[in-house]
Amino acid sequence: MLFYLVKRLGLAVAIVVLAVTLLFIMIQSVPGDPAAVVLGPRATPEQKALINEKMGLDEPLPVQLVTFFGNVATGDLGTDVFTQRPVADIVFGQMPYTIILILTSITWAALIGIPLGAYSAIRRNSVIDKIIGVLSVSAIAIPSFVMAVYALLIFAVQLNWLPAIGLGEGFWGGLRHLILPAFAVGVGWVGYIARIVRASMLEVLGETHIRMARSFGLRESRIVFRYALTLAILPTVTVLGVGMAHLLSASVFAEVVFARPGLGALIVQAVDTRNYPVVMGTVLVTTALFVISTTIADLINAALDPRVRESL
């Protein structure tokens, strides 16, 4: 297990370095001049050159890349070209909002999706199974941003039950402001999780140990929850880990539509203004988040399933 952990961490670092390097090359190859954006239309070429020098953009690409990773190793993600604030402060300041949004979205989706999928599998081919199937596929098929816009119009504008934008004050205020974005980001995942759990449950329910448990006369609820669902849930855990990347993307639209701060909104602005240090810092952190979440999913899988543990 320890070797596995070390191996996964090594791989994680390699993925982060590769992703950031690729992005570094990409953003340098597209047109755009951060100095022009920073200084505005009145800037002279000399002032622009000075800014480029300050940002290290006058150096050759490999030098810039090495400098960037060297700084990252010391915890320095650079400086925002506009506000002169440390990028690390900006990124880590915005990160909790995105993580809270993602975790809330995925949690409520799992809390509803898993029972729905399990119930569907137990009542296979029943009317309720078919209704859940139709609803699940519909939830997956409707784009999240469409869901977001309509949820906003219905619950915030028409009914005035929930606030439309921002984070809110305090715990309850924050919770109220989280409902609509988390609903929009997570609703597709309800259907997705329900379908995965259903398929997985059907497979597990047909296995020998379940038939054996039934022949021993164990209660059906014990068979379902203790022996079937714990195994059937494993693919869902893996999918949720990988799904972090999708959720990070989904958080971009949610943060824009609901005017919430977060990494998604931050990166969109930074790319638009060619704010390279913020782009790089945000991508570094989001890539790391993705790698960490997949690693955690693998470790949870290993902890839940002895077969996975043994194969390590």
Partner: protein, 528 residues
Amino acid sequence: MTARTRFTLDRRRFLQSAAAGTAGIVASGLPLSQAIWAQEGKVLRVRSYADINKLDPGFYQNAYNVSVMNCIYSGLMNYKPGTDWATELQAAESIEQIDPTHIRFKLKPGLMFTGGYGEITAEDVKFSFERVILQDSPMKDDWGPLNRVEVEDTHTGVIVLDRPFVPLWNVSLPYGVGHIVSKEAVLEATGDGGDFGMQPPMFSGPYVIADWRPNEVLILERNPDWTGQKPGFDEIQIRPIEDPQTAETAYRAGDIDFTHVSLSSLEQLNQRAPENTVIEERPSLYYVYLGMNMEHPKLQDINVRKAIQWAVNIPQLLEVAYFGYADVATGMIAPGLVGHRDKALIPPEGDLEKAREFLAEAGAEGLQLRIDVLNQAKFTTMAQVIQAQLGQIGIDLQIDVQDAGSFWTIGMETEGERWKDMQLILQRFSMVPDPFYATTFFTCEQVGNWNWERFCSERFDALNREATTVQDEEKRAQMYHEMQDLMEESGAYRFLTHEGAPFIYRRTVLEPATRPDGRALYRYFQPV
């Protein structure tokens, strides 16, 4: 011993209380979410189209930053809220032009900086204005030929110019660089008086920054040390919402009470405005035009450029892109400003026959061109209309949509060879209320910097220099008329529109105060 009161709440009582509470809220006219979470005090909740990123007035860059600076700093004078361009005294008790290059001001006594930095003095005014030049700020042109500020006594000083500079009254004094900061505070914070970025070491206006949560909200609170005119609201919450549709939704949901809206929403808003909402439309200072790179081989012949100018039917284009809510521009300079032309040289509708004649004269039948546009719906729509219009005279136009970072460097020589490849471009620039600010980007010196059409005229440059010194408004206007004529005659420009600046607000909450172009002056907003 503490006395306790025991409350019992059965179902009937609960329903009675809930019904009474809801009825109260409904009667108050507040959206439910707003009523439940409303806070004490007079709070103004508004939207900004971007988050603040610069609070040093000497180095300001954007209008949305200046809107905040207006609240936290004071200038000698400011724009007077209303529908006509005018200024009024702010920190100055008096200000007068002694001669064309000398302006004497006298400060109101007793106006204080926060943080224990004392009274606002003429020495602070001198420091605030001169540092813009001394620190080589990108905004130093706003001060034009400022030479120095002479301090006469604690409250009196004289602004000394190298030559007359009329925009000083319209831009320098009432706008960004005209705000006053404390010499002592800034030197303490920066060492050399340079850019203090996002960390104001003091405030000199009716509000102070209470909290800034990046990308979420900026909260301004009353400045307890402020001795000037008391502002209307106790607190101002400015929420950065980039997308206008999101802002409109936030307004409808009751999360904000004042926002600018897009022209494309006006039709719907006019038909179904939210309750207690006032919709106001103001002429904006933006200028949108179709530009042509005069040095591109395909566009070097003036007849080709003129063919394009005459082929573009502006009313048709505005009807599609702005749903008929934007007026045709006659030049760069918007209505209400000195130098605004009554009409352009080429009629708004153009003339296809004339366009075909120019194209035939150039011998450029079957011409293929490209237009670069910003990735926003209105610009891509306009480009598509232009594509169709040019198609009528046989020009095949390809549309190249670009993101902001890429678009705003297309014509810059510092960005390599891209400018050579630029052909047509759909441009939109913002303005401050002086014509100098528009024309100054189209001089020969600006070719390859912001003058992407590469228009260069000695006469234009001479007029541009001279027009800043002419105090006679009529004469000055004529000079700007001629400059716009020269631009149009070059064939490189087809001026399209100034767009518009509609905004909405809840009349039960506030009475807004804006400049004639709709820009909000929050410090003068009044609660209802």
